[in-house]
């Protein structure tokens, strides 16, 4: 299952040191699944008829991991720099597909940005006929910790064919501990009624406890602010917090009652935030539309992200080589991909994009190359985490379809322990050199 794959023309495409490994035995995988549920808070291993946890690990050569890590770190540097510049350029905010209340909150951030800690992002890489490309950054509330740290760690133990490239949950917990000090109370802010989010927060809470922190799981309406410092106000705990880790999308914050002080997530918080809501400036898929007006050097972004336009600038309708994406869409939802998106959804998306183009982008479609996994071929998406600018692990997903959505399978991404073969670690063509 290792090695190169033929492309559409039958030519061999270099797979850049990435291939699927041998599947876990059924009994071993059943054990991993059980431990993922009970030890790692993986509470959603089934989606309709799809068993989400893949028994087949995805193996990276060490050089391939270094290469991806270097790209992600370069992207993180550029993203942070661009965010800082965008903060003081409110004239550009209206191009980002952000609502009025958010734009007003962001204007206040220019005067007094919130305190930050443990900045975490996830860049989604795809293996394409042009080498590695990215589809987006999750710079606001990236998920995948349970899978990239917990599940992948269990597979690494069971498969004995590789090791975790890095552990993003550990990196995040460590960064929060370093920023706040031992014994600090950390508010883990999320929509408590939603188990998909609760599992992420509980998993992170357990990691934080190992670092001597005191995590408190709370809803976003259970915060009060005094002198721009956050306090928890719930039936089970009242008191100050030394840091907030948010897993509640920033674009939802304006729906909270005024008493929740949601604007502090955008501006003025003296309690360190992970992440500040100003991350929306780069979370927006319309971020590329303002690149030409920035002084910030974003060369890595320019080379890795497919050409992106306002839908009004290109003729996307009926054209297979354009993908439509909502400005703040996530997990592949709301994406129009010709030949993949069902007709009914395609019509709905196309109508939305025509009526409200300022909340959409048209992006050049890339040619994702599926990799052999047993008797099937799977498209892969590698979500590379960075924490405080350092590469911190990989959330792997795979799908028989080029669209990686909620039905995609979670794949443990491991770094091969053995020395790569001479052909297995060649870099895909047309990609940037590694920076580490």
């Amino acid at each position: 299952m290792c090695g190169d794959v033929p492309d559409m023309d039958g030519a061999v495409v270099e797979t850049g040191g990435i291939h699927f490994g041998a599947p876990l035995r059924d009994d071993a995988h059943a054990g991993v699944r059980r431990r993922a549920i009970f030890d790692c808070c993986k509470w959603d291993p089934r989606v309709e008829d799809v068993e989400v946890l893949s028994p087949v690990p995805l193996l990276l050569s060490r050089e391939a991991w270094r290469h991806l890590a270097g790209l992600a770190e370069a992207l993180a540097r550029e993203t942070i720099a661009a965010e800082r510049e965008l903060l003081i350029r409110p004239d550009l905010h209206r191009h980002l597909g952000l609502g009025g209340s958010i734009r007003r909150a962001l204007r206040a951030a220019a005067e007094g940005p919130p305190a930050e800690m443990a900045r975490v992002m996830r860049f989604d890489f795809h293996f394409t006929s042009d080498g590695w490309r990215i589809s987006e950054v999750n710079s606001d509330v990236p998920g995948g910790f349970v899978e990239a740290s917990g599940y992948a760690g269990l597979v690494a133990e069971a498969a004995a064919s590789g090791t975790l490239p890095a552990d993003p949950a550990e990196a995040l917990a460590s960064a929060v501990a370093a920023a706040t000090g031992p014994g600090a109370t950390i508010g883990l802010v999320h929509a408590t009624a939603y188990t998909d989010d609760r599992q992420v927060m509980l998993f992170l809470a357990r990691r934080m406890e190992r670092h001597g922190l005191r995590p408190m799981l709370i809803g976003p309406d259970q915060l009060r602010w005094t002198n721009a410092r956050a306090e928890i106000d719930s039936d089970w705990h009242r008191g100050p917090v030394q840091g907030l880790v948010r897993f509640f999308p920033a674009e939802w914050l304006p729906n909270l009652p005024r008493s929740s002080g949601w604007r502090h997530h955008f501006a003025g918080s003296r309690t360190p935030l992970c992440n500040p809501a100003t991350a929306l400036l780069t979370q927006s898929k319309r971020f590329p539309l303002v690149w030409d007006r920035l002084k910030t050097d974003i060369d890595t972004w320019r080379q890795l992200l497919p050409q992106t336009h306002d839908p009004r600038e290109v003729r996307w309708n009926g054209q297979d080589h354009w993908v439509l994406k909502p400005a703040l869409g996530r997990v592949g939802d709301g994406i129009l991909l010709a030949g993949v998106t069902p007709d009914r959804q395609r019509r709905r998306i196309a109508r939305d994009a025509r009526w409200h183009p300022r909340y959409w982008v048209a992006q050049r479609r890339f040619d994702s190359i599926p990799l052999a996994a047993g008797d099937e071929h799977l498209h892969v998406c590698l979500g590379v985490f960075t924490v405080d600018g350092r590469a911190a692990g990989v959330y792997g997903r795979a799908s028989a379809s080029p669209l990686i959505d909620h039905l995609a399978r979670d794949v443990a991404v491991l770094v091969e322990e053995r020395e790569p073969s001479p052909t297995a670690h060649v870099r895909p063509r047309n990609v940037l050199p590694a920076t580490v």
Binding site: F38, A193, R198, V200, G219, D233, R330, G334
Partner: protein, 259 residues
């Protein structure tokens, strides 16, 4: 370890319907098993309405709290495979009190361990009719643990039909249509050819045909988002203010799960 074993009684390894059992509650349980209270006598639950398992009928038990689980145990004794689908969290000061549900699930240790349910037994999906309303007002200080069912929580109609399940009975206390979230599941099944019936177990009646009305936002790509927003909105304390989506207002909207 006790609760892992309890989970495996409800979700036996290799079982046909095991993959759909929601592990959420089991994975959170840490209390002393001896502290569970007796939730009631499952043998007293009225199940005379239930078809013979040989009829290959799926059952959806949409009753309040422990009633649902106790009915499932009674149906297990009759030859059905109970499939708990509780997708909710435990926590302090909850809006939805899950203690009776947990106590009833714990009874599975006593009941299910003594049963030999056949591999091909038809499923009895177990949910809680209180799920979206809770037991108390979801005021901001409380832990909002209400939940909804989504089509992806259940097997597809194709899977059901491929295993000979051509009929499903909803057991609930409602008059007429099922809860809206459940209607999204049942309507899909109905359109795929599964015959849907309903019954109120508290009445001495036989299951009657149910034409599931097309719920709003049926099969729309934003449905999952909209369904969960209903809870998130309240979890966030913003009662009455809809979270907008791009097509409806000057806002950013949000589409689907996180990152």
């Amino acid at each position: 370890m006790y609760y892992q074993q309890l989970y495996e009684l409800w979700a036996p390894p290799g079982g046909l319907w095991t993959p759909w059992v929601k592990p959420v509650l089991f994975a959170q349980l840490q209390s002393n098993p001896a502290e569970h209270k007796f939730p009631g006598d499952w043998r007293q639950r009225p199940i005379g309405w239930a078809p013979s398992p040989a009829d290959r009928t799926a059952i959806i038990i949409d009753l309040p709290g422990a009633d649902s689980v106790l009915t499932a145990l009674a149906l297990a004794d009759k030859g059905y495979r109970p499939v708990p689908l509780f997708n909710c969290c435990l926590g302090p000061s909850p809006v939805l009190n899950l203690t009776p549900v947990v106590d009833a699930l714990n009874l599975g240790n006593e009941v299910l361990s003594k049963l030999a349910i056949p591999y091909h037994a038809p499923p009895a999906f177990v949910i809680d009719s209180r799920r979206s309303k809770g037991d108390t007002e979801p005021t901001p200080g409380k832990f909002d643990n209400r939940w909804v069912v989504l089509p992806q929580d259940f097997p597809s109609a194709r899977f059901m039909l491929s295993h000979g399940v051509q009929q499903a009975v909803v057991a609930h206390h409602r008059v007429g249509q099922p809860e809206t979230d459940l209607a999204h599941v049942l309507r899909r099944w109905q359109e795929a050819g599964i015959n849907i019936l309903r019954v109120n177990p508290m009445r001495d009646e036989r299951p009657a045909p149910l034409q599931v009305a097309r719920p709003s936002h049926f099969r729309e790509m934003w449905y999952t988002f909209l369904a969960t927003v209903g809870l998130r909105r309240n979890a966030a304390g913003g009662f009455g203010s809809a979270i907008p989506i791009p097509s409806s207002s000057d806002s950013t909207g949000y589409r689907g799960g996180f990152g």
